[in-house]
Symmetry: C2
Subunit: 154 residues, 2 copies
DNA sequence: ATTAATGCAAACGGTTTGCACTACT
DNA sequence: AGTAGTGCAAACCGTTTGCATTAAT
């Protein structure tokens, strides 16, 4: 996989990287090899990963990766709106990239696989809570634990 | 507040304690001062507390309280079905006493207050996920973050 | 007399912090 | 040159573990 957006041939990822680079530069922030590595990792996720997983995957690219650098970069990426975070059922931080649509997460307590819940699937709950209690649900922080179809059968 | 269920005059708490004591004895487990203290704390909660909060409140009763004892007791209380646990939005363990009805939690990201969500309020979501994906929601682990009515106004 | 439960201390895992140094701009 | 970002190490917080000791049965 390409490491520099400007030389990349895969399209989407390259576009995202230069966008991030520009957003950083616009704020006087900098583009470093460590940030590039994290962006590379983020670009190849299916949309949600824990902080610890990101550290691990960055280490695959650069074994010298330091956790604090990853977490600090995640903070700035969250500030510029490139990622957002919620929490898994067992309390670890869960990050997701540029959510095109806001969504929650569904997690199986047995196989620990997880899926996204799009707005429309949670719509009834969200509007019910809003109408009944005036509570504005933060869907991107919604994490539902349960048993997936496959695990229920076996 | 009374410390021994058999001498207690307040009713509910005393009943719960002897029930727990009996459940423990039925399994060859023991009734200790430390467990009594935790039960006293649990009896006076509004239904949900974090593990760390329980440790702190037990210390108010007995300053010599040891965290591991509290957590170990919570484990057995969960085993005998007297409490169950989920996780708060920031990932700490959240315990609740004998849920008469299974329920989730609503937490305000600003004032950090929290409320219970009874089954019926989550019913639509639960059945939608079950029908659409065969996913069995674990309502007692459901924790929704958002902005409460009071905090939205100000 | 059993053996469950405790106190203690140390370790855990994920994340955060302080600080001197490095390297983007 | 200026200062954002890094590497490192140490601290953090809530929770868990191992083990010798205590105490409920």
């Amino acid at each position: 996989m390409a490491v520099d957006g400007s030389l990349d041939g895969t399209g989407i990822a390259a576009a995202d990287w230069s966008k991030v680079r520009d957003l950083l530069h616009a704020r006087g922030l900098r583009w470093t090899p460590q940030r590039r590595a994290l962006l590379e990792v983020l670009a190849s996720t299916d949309g949600h990963v824990t902080g610890a997983e990101l550290v691990e995957r960055c280490r695959a690219i650069d074994p010298a990766t330091i956790p604090s650098t990853v977490y600090r970069t995640l903070d700035v990426l969250e500030e510029i709106g490139f990622v957002s975070h919620s929490h898994t059922a067992d309390g670890r931080e869960q990050f997701h990239v540029l959510p095109v649509v806001e969504h929650g997460h569904l997690e199986c307590r047995r196989c620990h696989d997880s899926w996204e819940i799009p707005v429309d699937e949670a719509a009834e709950l969200v509007t019910a809570l809003e109408r009944g209690r005036g509570f504005a649900v933060d869907l991107s922080h919604l994490s539902i634990l349960g048993l997936c179809a496959a695990c229920r059968e076996s």
